[in-house]
Amino acid sequence: MKIYIDLWIKSLDSKTAEILRKLGYKAIAVEEERERVADLLVITKRVIEANTRKELKEKLHGIKRKHVLVSVKPLSIEAARMAAHDSRVDTIIIDDTCYKYIDRNQINLMKQHSKPLELPLGRWLTYTPRKRSAIYRRVVYYLFHTKMPLIVTSCAKNWDELLVPRSTIYLLSIAFHIPLSQAVLSLTSYPRELISRCGVSI
């Protein structure tokens, strides 16, 4: 049986947890946990937005490493480079605010330091066509040149923003030309590896 994992849920309430269970998720990473839920492995997620290298350093300083997943949304080139270098960072997010800084050099650096790219897929479909295409180009370049895993998340605030695993896998296969067998890993094995790196076994 496949263990689906969503590595970015903005806020978790009972309704969202119920639907997550229905959809077949076993583990999630939550930014803001409103209610305690059973039957789901919940770990904390910290999303750091940084403009400068110094700011990122300061924000990373106070974070506990155990049971916490750290993702960085770089808002400048120097913050992006620093995020790729730093071993405390688990993933680097690409969205409409920071896609400009995920360039070729950044992707090469990410490959060197084995930092996976995280794409909030639900949000990606809501961007303007221009931004959507820019992100698409970067993700395809990342996938083609680095052969690194792509982590797909929902970034859901409500239950209706959650990702349906089967649909997500097929969309990855259609949009990014990822074979179905590998697209499944974006929701199962790759996130699982990251979680186990944080000291949580599943």
Binding site: L23, D160, V164, S167, Y170, L171, I174
Partner: protein, 168 residues
């Protein structure tokens, strides 16, 4: 003496003529048989090529149907028309008008009491419809989530699944 020689020569001549005639007849018979074999071989080859081409054409032209069983999670209860319109609109927004025409996703069955339905689609665009269903977030301004449950090749099986699989 001369007559004797002549009669012998004539006999030889006749035998030679008969022999040549027999040989020519044999050659003709052999030739005919060979051409028959050849023609049969050629016709076999032609048939093979024809069958190959016709099979290829058939595989391109024939559109098989797939039935996708799905369920809706929402606080509201939707009508069949609302759901079908939402699916068609979402498909043409996501994959374009031409793909929508080719795929022709039809909501052939919808049970409002359990909020489950069956979509019929061309086998080529089956993946597209499954991908699309998960990303329909609202119908008529009311938030919802569509979950593809199972894909089948017959409507009978689809209906069976509709009322049995994953029912809670």
């Amino acid at each position: 003496m001369w007559c004797q020689y002549l009669s012998i020569d004539l006999q030889i001549l006749y035998t030679l003529i008969i022999l040549s005639l027999a040989l020519s007849v044999l050659a003709i018979i052999l030739d005919i048989s060979r051409t028959q074999v050849l023609s049969s071989k050629v016709s076999k080859l032609e048939n093979l090529v024809k069958s190959l081409f016709s099979r290829k054409e058939r595989s391109i032209k024939k559109i098989r149907k797939r039935y996708i069983v799905f369920s809706i999670i929402s606080k509201h209860r939707y009508k069949r028309i609302e759901v079908e319109e939402a699916i068609r609109r979402a498909f043409s927004e996501m994959f374009g008008e031409i793909s929508a025409a080719k795929a022709d996703p039809q909501l052939i069955y919808f049970d409002p009491s359990i909020q489950r339905g069956v979509i019929r689609v061309s086998h080529i665009y089956k993946d597209h419809v499954i991908a699309l269903l998960g990303f329909i977030r609202e119908i008529n301004g009311r938030s919802c989530l569509l979950i593809p449950i199972k894909t089948t090749g017959t409507i009978r099986k689809a209906r069976k699944i509709l009322y049995t699989l994953g029912k809670k």
